[in-house]
Each structure stands twice: as structure tokens, then as C-alpha cells.
């Protein structure tokens, strides 16, 4: 069992948990992920390692409440434990030593995944500009943390309730056109956001790394459920990724695969909610 040491609500639908997992904490690197299972009936869900502390032996996860499993996860508290927690899985992000200046872009929950990359780059002495987009001011997460590891932090919201109204790509285009010379762009968020960041950076010929988060079961290359088309070839996000060269990723096929189980996910969530309400009544 893997104990929840700390739980913090970061936003209306976003929660952070610090998990006691010393062997994983020893090995985890930014860009990698873990897979967890709550109980015997549970499904295996992949979550990116948001942070880790080798000395304390902890791994931090940040998740958005979208379906049954994340709803159930969010109902757990400090002192409770997860049945299974396996990792670190996937390849760690690799950064070229020659990189001087990077734009790290996060969209919604993707910000939580982009943040450890920004933190690592900043620790390497790289100049980091961070652009983070959210639905509205209530959904903003990790603002202080992002500030601490970036030279400039640009926040955008869909409704303009905080930072600037608009999309992360608006800011990126503006910065590039204003003469910022980024050696690398890292974009993590919804597929549609990553697709448009890549279209933009391709125009300016800036290398762009994105992180895929498809449906997966084992996370070790066994099921092939997480396959993505990269440069015309089928790759497994769990072992070949989750980071890929964004200019090579076929986002349209990934967007078609993403909602494959939406109907079943809704059914599962609905049944769970009914049961919870039934218990309260």
C-alpha cells in the first residue's frame, strides 16, 4: 500500500497529492509517469510525476477530476493509501546542454506536467519563459512555483478574468515576433493546444517537445493501447515517450483515439455518483 502523506486542493477540479513511494522517488525524473490503482476493482490510470523528493521518499501527483477513478481518488485523504503505485515509467525528458532559452507552455492541468520541466531547466541555468493558459482565474494552479523558476510568466485565461484574455499561442506568437529567440519550446496540455503550438513553432522553425497522455493499461509496452503516430510510424507513448517531437506527431489521429471510451467512462462515473448519493440519502 502507498500512503497519501499530503493532499492539497489546487483549484476547483484539481488536486495535488504527495505519496509515500521511496523506491520510485529514488529513480523518478521529469517527464516520467506512474500508474496507480485505488482498489481491487480499480482501473490503472497513468499520471505524470509532478514532483519528487529523493530524501523524503515521496512522489507528487496532480490530477484533474474527470471520471470515476479521479473522483474516487479525490475522495481519499491524508493517511489513506493507494493499493498500487508503479513507476517510474516512460522516458525522462532529455535536454540538450546547448540550450540557452526555452518557452515552456502549459494548458490547464498540463501546467502541472510542464512545471517540473521548467524547474529542471531553470536549475540547469537555462532561461525559462513560461506561458500558462487556464479556463478562468479559479483554475489557475502553481502560480508561485512557476514564478520561481521562470524569468517571465505569462498567464492567459479564456475569459480574461486573470492575466490576458486569449490563448497561449497568442502570447507565444507575440514573443517570437517581438524578437525572443527560443532554442526550444515545450508544450503540454490538451491535444488541440499542442497541435496549434506546433503549427506555430513550425512556421518559425523552433524545435518543440510535447507530452502525450493517451489511454493505456500496463505502461510497459505490452498492450499497445497508447499508440501514437510519430513521423509516419506507430510509437507507444508509454515506452517510446511520453515526450515526442511535436512537429512529427499526428495530432488528428490522436484526437480521434482519445474519446474512444467516453461513453463507458460516463456510465462508470454516473453509477459511482448515484451510489455516493444513495449512501448519503
Amino acid at each position: 500500500m502507498y500512503k497519501i502523506l499530503e493532499k492539497k486542493v489546487l483549484g476547483p477540479q484539481i488536486t495535488k497529492m504527495v505519496i509515500d513511494a521511496p523506491t520510485i522517488a529514488k529513480k523518478a525524473e521529469p517527464g516520467q509517469f506512474i500508474i496507480l490503482r485505488i482498489d481491487e476493482q480499480g482501473e490503472r490510470i497513468p499520471l505524470t510525476v509532478a514532483d519528487f523528493d529523493r530524501e523524503q521518499g515521496t512522489v507528487t501527483i496532480i490530477f484533474q477530476i474527470v471520471g470515476k477513478t479521479t473522483t474516487q481518488l479525490n475522495a481519499l485523504n491524508e493517511g489513506d493509501a493507494l493499493l498500487d503505485f508503479v513507476g517510474p515509467l516512460g522516458k525522462a525528458s532529455e535536454f540538450d546542454e546547448s540550450i540557452k532559452k526555452v518557452a515552456v507552455i502549459g494548458g490547464g492541468l498540463g501546467t502541472a506536467i510542464a512545471y517540473p520541466q521548467a524547474k529542471k531547466l531553470s536549475a540547469m541555468g537555462v532561461e525559462v519563459d513560461m506561458i500558462a493558459g487556464f479556463r478562468n482565474t479559479d483554475y489557475i494552479i502553481l502560480e508561485e512555483e512557476m514564478k520561481a523558476c521562470s524569468k517571465n510568466l505569462y498567464i492567459t485565461t479564456d475569459d480574461g478574468s486573470n492575466g490576458r484574455k486569449g490563448l497561449v499561442t497568442d502570447v507565444l506568437r507575440e514573443r517570437i515576433e517581438a524578437g525572443e529567440k527560443y532554442d526550444l519550446v515545450i508544450a503540454i496540455g490538451p491535444l488541440i493546444m499542442m497541435k496549434f503550438v506546433c503549427l506555430l513553432t513550425k512556421e518559425f522553425d523552433i524545435k518543440t517537445i510535447i507530452s502525450m497522455n493517451p489511454v493505456m493499461i500496463d505502461g510497459t509496452g505490452m498492450c499497445g493501447g497508447c499508440r501514437v503516430v510519430v513521423g509516419g510510424e506507430t510509437k507507444f507513448a508509454c515506452v517510446d515517450g511520453p515526450d515526442f517531437d511535436g512537429h512529427l506527431v499526428d495530432f488528428d489521429s490522436a484526437m480521434r483515439r482519445q474519446p474512444m471510451y467516453r461513453e463507458q467512462e460516463q456510465e462508470s462515473l454516473h453509477k459511482h455518483q448515484c451510489r455516493m448519493e444513495g449512501m448519503q440519502a
Partner: protein, 463 residues
């Protein structure tokens, strides 16, 4: 004792095909004591014991059957487990027709002795009667690690524990058993039984650490630093092969691994009681002719598909699946579309599968496997309606361990290079099962684990 000279095996009771094809209950029900006695009497106890030579783990077949003839079922079970640590499993999933039973002298005229059925009977009898094995193991305090808890790993672990070693098995999944859990379905191999056999090994002193992906969380070097003096790699053939034809990434196309793992390991057939989903498909096409293909097709049927087809590029004669699986699949209404092969998977604008374009084949000259090579017949393509396609054309070894162990030599297709005894290119590191041979059978993997255990023991004794 009077011998039974009947030319046919005593039939094993089975669930009705129509009834069973809508649930996941075990299909074959096993012998009663009377049936076991009657079948055992067919064994002549002949001198040449060719059946034993046909068994990869050397079960003392005539001896255990002689004990069954006497009604000494527990003693018969004890005779089996002298060399086979997982008899309830082997009795169900071994391809006996090409092993022990294939060599049986009774098979020259008529059917061979039902060795597999008798093995299963003894194992089930012992389990039902709460048999507790008595182990008198003298511990030697030396640590060995086994990577993977499938048939190869479990057999190696069991044999090493019996020899007194302190054995730890590392498993990547959240349950032990490997392919016995994620691959072979409940209706062919009940998971309660797999758990019971593994439990038996734990009682013998084998430790199992789950959620440990070796190659990621720990490397082989780190295992050695932790005091493991020898390592056995039984990581299986977990990497699914796809066909590399257009349309393979449409929604509804699965590797057999994914389809079976969802259903067997994650229990998607009990969704939403279990959280992992699988969709209800109407027309499922399974590509391949092995046991995995049969398992996938029979699972698809049980999930409620109206029509399930097996598409195989050769003929039925050439199918690598066990005879019993082919027979059961047919009984359950699986349609066999032989001598044809998919060339493209078709889908709609949303990315969902709508059909498979197949091309007809004919058999040409024999190929490297000795089977006649299938050759496509020009302009014979046709479209088969489908909303799901399961690719069951094979798996290759998982490259995870190799990727963090550069010294570990592998073949170009991924198989770990190992000698007769399972020794790899690294001293003290052994390997066996599908990780070495590519996808094969449970019993061959167990045989390899057993051989490697003997070699590991000899190596550690001499160190």
C-alpha cells in the same frame, strides 16, 4: 489390475456450448474419481516411457498414473509435483497432443491416454481436499532474483526455493502470474486456481514483489548490489506485433494483448463492477491462428458479439492452436475464415473501424517453419464487415530490461541470447521462456525455468 482397452479417452464433461458462450465460467469440468480410474486404466505402464521424454518438465507419468489406478490420488499428486510446480495449470493449458500424449503408445491405434486430464484431476483433487505440502527445506541464506512471475519465473523460483535459496520474484503488474493472469481467459484457466498455485509457492518461501518494473525502478546491476547472487529473467514476450497495414490505428483495433489484458487481468467483462471498460462490439474479426487468437475470439463471443471470425492466412491443418481450443471455438460458433489475410482496415470519418479488407490466399512451397507458405491470390480482395479487429499474430520479447542492460546480448528480433542452460552473456544472469524463444507455450517456459534453476544452483555451488 484390469486394463481398459477402449480406443478412446474417457470423455471429460464440458459446459454446453450455447450456455457457456455467454459467460466466463470454466468450459471443461474435469473428471470425477470414477472417470479418472477408468481413464488411468488405459495406461499400459509400458517400459519405454516415451511420454516422459515428451514432457518438458519430466513429470513421472507412468508412476503417477499407476498411483491413480490404485486410487491413491494424493500420492499421485505428490509424484507430479516432484518435478512440476504448477500441475493444475499444466493439466489445463499444455498442448498434450504434441508432447506427452503425442508420444503415447496407445495413440498408435486410437487415442492416447488422457494424461493432461489425469494431471488436472490429481491437482484439483489435492486442492479440493485442502492438501498442504510438507516441505523440509534447509535454507542456505543465499539470495536470488527472478524477474517476471509468469510460467518461466514461477517454475525457476519454485525449484530454487526447494534447493534452499532465498528467492524474490519481481512482477511489473499488480498481480503475479504473467500470461496466466493477463493472457489465458478465466473460462480456460480460472484465476482462483492460478492464485492458489502461486500461494503454494509463497508458502514454500518464495517472496513476490509486485509493481516492480525491472529495467526502470531497478537495473540488473542494482539487483546485484542489493545482494542477489544470481538473476533469472523470465520477462516473457510482451511486445505485441501489429500487421503494418493501413488503418491499424482506427478505434476498435486492438493488439490481442490489450484485448485480453482488459478482459482477463482488469476484468472488463464485469464492467462497470470493475472500472476498466471494454466496448460491446457486434462484428469482431480476430487475425491469427494460435491459442491467443482462439482466446480472443472466444472472449469476444462471451462479451456478446453477434459474429466473431478468425481470419487466418493458412489452412486449419497449419494452425498452431491446440486442437481442443479450435474444437471449442467452433462449438461456440466462431467462424473460421481460412486462407485469407487482411490487407487494410477500413474506418469512418470519426476514426471507428467499419470493416476489414481481406485477400484470399493459397498454399505454396514449404517455408522455414516447414509449413506451406501462403501466397496471395491476385484480385481476390473482399470486405468483411467489422467494428472491432483484434491482431493476434504474435508477440516479441519486451525490450525494457535490454534497454538499461547494454551488456545483455539479444537477437535482432529481441530474444535474449541464452545457452542450453539459460545462461546469458552476463555471468550469473540466466533467462528462459518467451523472453528467449519468442512466444511459445506455458510448459516450454516452465521447462526453461527449471533447467535454468539447475544451472544457477550449480553455478552458485561452485562460486
Amino acid at each position: 489390475m484390469k486394463k481398459n482397452m477402449s480406443l478412446t479417452k474417457v470423455a471429460m464433461p464440458e459446459r454446453d456450448p450455447i450456455e457457456r458462450s455467454i459467460n466466463f465460467e470454466e468450459v471443461a469440468l474435469g473428471y470425477t474419481e470414477e472417470m479418472a480410474l477408468e481413464e488411468a486404466a488405459r495406461c499400459l505402464g509400458c517400459k519405454n516411457r516415451s511420454c516422459v521424454a515428451g514432457c518438458p518438465v519430466n513429470v513421472q507419468i507412468p508412476e503417477f498414473i499407476a498411483l491413480v489406478q490404485e486410487g491413491k490420488f494424493i500420492e499421485a499428486y505428490e509424484k507430479i509435483i516432484e518435478t512440476n510446480s504448477l500441475p493444475a495449470i499444466c493439466g489445463r493449458v499444455c498442448p498434450q497432443e504434441s508432447q506427452c500424449e503425442g508420444k503415447c503408445v496407445r495413440g498408435v491405434k486410437g487415442q492416447p491416454v488422457g494424461i493432461g486430464r489425469l494431471e488436472r484431476f490429481c491437482a484439483d483433487y489435492a486442492m479440493v481436499h485442502g492438501y498442504e505440502p510438507k516441505y523440509d527445506i534447509e535454507k542456505n541464506g543465499r539470495k536470488v532474483a527472478v524477474i517476471g512471475s509468469g510460467p518461466a519465473g514461477l517454475s525457476c523460483a519454485g525449484d530454487m526455493a526447494k534447493r534452499g535459496y532465498d528467492v524474490t520474484v519481481f512482477e511489473a503488474f499488480h498481480v503475479a502470474g504473467g500470461v496466466l493472469q493477463y493472457g489465458i481467459p478465466q473460462f480456460r484457466l480460472p484465476k482462483e486456481l492460478v492464485n492458489a498455485e502461486i500461494n503454494g509457492l509463497e508458502k514454500m518461501g518464495v517472496k513476490i514483489e509486485k509493481n516492480m518494473v525491472i529495467g526502470k525502478i531497478l537495473t540488473l546491476d542494482e539487483l546485484k548490489e542489493e545482494g542477489y547472487e544470481a538473476i533469472f529473467i523470465g520477462s516473457g514476450a510482451g511486445l505485441p506485433s501489429f500487421m503494418r497495414i493501413p488503418g491499424e490505428n482506427f478505434n476498435g483495433v486492438y493488439s490481442a494483448n490489450e484485448f485480453l489484458t482488459r478482459i482477463n487481468l482488469m476484468k472488463a467483462y464485469r464492467f462497470p463492477e470493475f472500472d476498466t471498460p471494454i466496448k460491446k462490439y457486434k462484428h469482431v474479426v480476430v487475425v491469427g491462428g494460435g491459442n491467443v487468437a482462439m482466446d480472443a475470439a472466444r472472449c469476444a463471443k462471451r462479451l456478446g458479439a453477434d459474429e466473431v471470425s478468425i481470419v487466418y492466412r493458412r489452412g486449419e491443418e497449419e494452425m498452431p492452436a491446440r486442437l481442443e481450443e479450435i474444437h471449442h471455438a467452433k462449438e461456440e460458433g466462431i467462424i473460421f475464415r481460412l486462407l485469407q489475410n487482411p490487407v487494410e482496415i477500413l474506418g469512418d470519418e470519426k476514426g471507428n473501424v467499419t470493416g476489414v479488407k481481406n485477400i484470399k490466399m493459397e498454399l505454396g512451397e514449404p517455408d522455414a517453419s516447414g509449413r506451406r507458405r501462403p501466397v496471395a491470390i491476385k484480385d481476390s480482395e473482399y470486405v468483411l464487415e467489422a467494428d472491432a479487429v483484434v491482431i493476434a499474430i504474435g508477440q516479441s520479447p519486451n525490450p525494457l530490461i535490454k534497454s538499461t542492460t547494454p551488456d545483455l546480448e539479444t537477437k535482432t528480433w529481441g530474444g535474449i541470447v541464452a545457452d542450453e542452460d539459460g545462461l546469458t552473456s552476463i555471468e550469473g544472469v540466466y533467462a528462459g521462456g518467451d523472453a528467449v524463444t519468442g512466444a511459445a507455450t506455458v510448459i516450454l517456459a516452465m521447462g526453461a525455468g527449471k533447467k535454468a534453476a539447475a544451472a544457477m544452483d550449480a553455478y552458485l555451488q561452485s562460486k
